[in-house]
């Protein structure tokens, strides 16, 4: 058995999964691309011309990107320091906090989105709190606004930022910071020169995850904003489900797919550089 395995090479064990992923993932995506380029007469970029020629489409693309950039930035601003604090905790406190991150992460997006529709209502908890604190006199409109959407979407993806950064920080020897401090230079200097570069792989992983998840987000924008707010994702869904315009949906799909691929490739390149140049 061992001899056969050695002769064939263990690599063949990957054949079934690879075949499956080719047939049910790569080929369908390739055909989507082909379909978006086909018209009755033959091959044509007309559908792309039409989609990319409209100012509205660019608005949609810009909105999708802005939402993803803002979400990623907010998640990083909250998540980076939070991950440091989490790495300082020990024992059951840490377990409890990790559980508090894993629960929302594992929970259905629809359930969380529903929770936000309740929280963000004019007579909801957020407004009641703001009014009780005297921060506002009248309820602020949050549901169906971009602010409300950002709150909701950040909430969904924040654990994906904290966990990868946390797992990198945990591996840093705390004596390293102390050592850096004794070599002169303040704690800020030690942080910037020693700690920050070591956390870079976690940041790259977290940023990639949050960015690629948020450019593709559908359920949250759909529930918190409604149909009037179109991102690439909602354009794809409405084109297929309501407008019966698969051509437009396919084109928007390919555009979104290309954006995601750029993010993934960039993260692989960046990840290699960060690990390679960390010393």
């Amino acid at each position: 058995m061992n001899a056969i395995a050695r002769r064939l090479g263990v690599g063949w064990l990957a054949a079934p999964a690879t075949a499956y992923a080719l047939i049910l993932f790569a080929v369908p995506l390739a055909l989507l691309l082909v379909g978006s380029l086909r018209t009755l007469g033959g091959w044509s970029l007309a559908a792309y011309g039409e989609f990319l020629g409209s100012a509205y489409s660019w608005q949609v693309i810009g909105r999708t990107l802005r939402l993803a950039v803002l979400t990623t930035a907010i998640c990083l601003l909250i998540g980076y320091p939070a991950a440091f604090a989490l790495a300082r905790t020990r024992g059951w406190v840490q377990s409890l906090l990790v559980a508090a991150l894993l629960l929302p992460l594992s929970l259905s997006v629809i359930v969380k989105a529903f929770g936000w529709t309740v929280l963000l209502r004019a007579n909801g908890v957020v407004n009641a709190t703001l009014m009780a604190l005297g921060l506002t006199d009248a309820p602020i409109r949050l549901l169906f606004t971009e602010t409300g959407l950002l709150i909701g979407i950040t909430n969904i993806f924040l654990p994906f930022m904290i966990l990868p950064i946390f797992s990198v920080i945990r591996q840093i020897d705390p004596r390293l910071t102390d050592a850096a401090a004794t070599l002169g230079g303040g704690p800020l200097h030690a942080f910037l020169r020693v700690v920050a570069p070591l956390t870079a792989p976690g940041v790259v992983a977290g940023v990639t995850l949050v960015f690629s998840l948020s450019i593709a987000a559908y359920v949250i924008p759909n529930l918190l904003m409604g149909d009037a707010y179109q991102t690439l994702s909602t354009t794809i869904a409405t084109s297929f489900l309501f407008l019966q315009d698969p051509q437009k949906g396919s084109v928007a799909g390919v555009v979104l797919l290309l954006m995601s691929l750029v993010v993934v490739v960039a993260s692989v390149v960046l990840g290699k550089r960060v690990r390679g140049g960390g010393a």
Binding site: P28, I78, A82, F84, L103, F114, G115, L119, L163
Partner: protein, 269 residues
């Protein structure tokens, strides 16, 4: 020990504040959902004084809920089993093999996780239509294997990279047959990766909306598709009760995962 400087103190104060805020922020929608489900009020309001289970009593009368739960459980269970069967040998090949393009293959098999679900959904919709596959159940199952597989691949490849394969040879020298050596040595070490990948894959199949929405029909609605429909139709606190039940189930799954592998391992840390 070095005395912390003001800058360091400020930094750690910031870190603790952010952690506290993050936890409150993350749990807020869950807590509110549970509270609303227990309120007697028919509008979404926090309970004031009295608690009521009236919305839970109405859960059973929701049209199509039970069917959608059963469908989602079947699809997720089968998809997870198939993904583990496909993924385990593939992960061994990637961890042990010395063939060209190994890293590219690993990236390829995890990539569905990073690509937009809606795009995979419309691609599969058109593909299945072109092939003449119109039945919802097989379409959903075929698609959901592809949802679970990346989770299995990611955790198993990571687990196998840490596994010392010479242990199998050692067990062989001690007289165990090859299959027994694998069973006794490799399976226990890999069990946590197996369980973690399986659980997260299972949960993400149960929760999938962007791919399922294109493959369901009137008689085959998965749970998320059905839930979103309730929210669109008649948002009353019954939905909050259903949501709370899902929160409870997720807590149970995590407790199970904690007992089996430990939460820290599940978090990938």
């Amino acid at each position: 020990m070095i005395r912390p400087s003001p800058a360091a103190l400020l930094g750690s104060a910031l870190a603790w504040t952010m952690l506290g805020a993050a936890i409150v922020f993350l749990l807020a929608p869950l807590v509110v959902t549970v509270l609303v489900s227990l309120s007697p009020s028919p509008v979404f309001a926090l309970p004031s004084g009295t608690l009521s289970t009236r919305w839970y009593e109405r859960v059973g009368r929701l049209d199509g809920l039970l069917d959608s739960i059963l469908l989602s459980l079947q699809i997720a269970g089968l998809a997870t089993a198939i993904a583990l069967l496909l993924g385990t040998p593939a992960a061994i090949a990637i961890a042990r093999g010395r063939f060209p393009g190994r890293e590219a293959l690993a990236t390829f098999l995890v990539s569905p996780l990073m690509l937009p679900g809606l795009v995979i959904g419309i691609a599969l919709l058109q593909y299945f239509r072109a092939l003449g596959l119109v039945e919802a159940f097989p379409s959903l199952l075929l698609a959901h294997v592809m949802i679970v597989l990346p989770f299995v691949m990611r955790t198993l490849t990571a687990g196998l990279t840490l596994f010392d394969f010479t242990l199998i040879d050692a067990a062989r020298t001690l007289g165990l047959s090859w299959p027994r050596a694998v069973l006794r040595v490799m399976v226990p070490v890999l069990a946590p990766s197996f369980i973690t990948g399986g659980l997260f894959g299972f949960l993400s199949s149960i929760d999938n909306y962007p791919i399922s929405i294109f493959l369901t029909d009137v008689y085959h609605r998965t749970l998320p598709v059905q839930l979103l429909q309730y929210l669109g139709e008649s948002p009353d606190p019954t939905v909050a009760a259903v949501s709370s039940l899902i929160i409870g189930l997720t807590v149970l799954v995590l407790i199970l995962g904690d007992r089996l592998v430990g939460l820290n391992r599940m978090a990938g840390v």
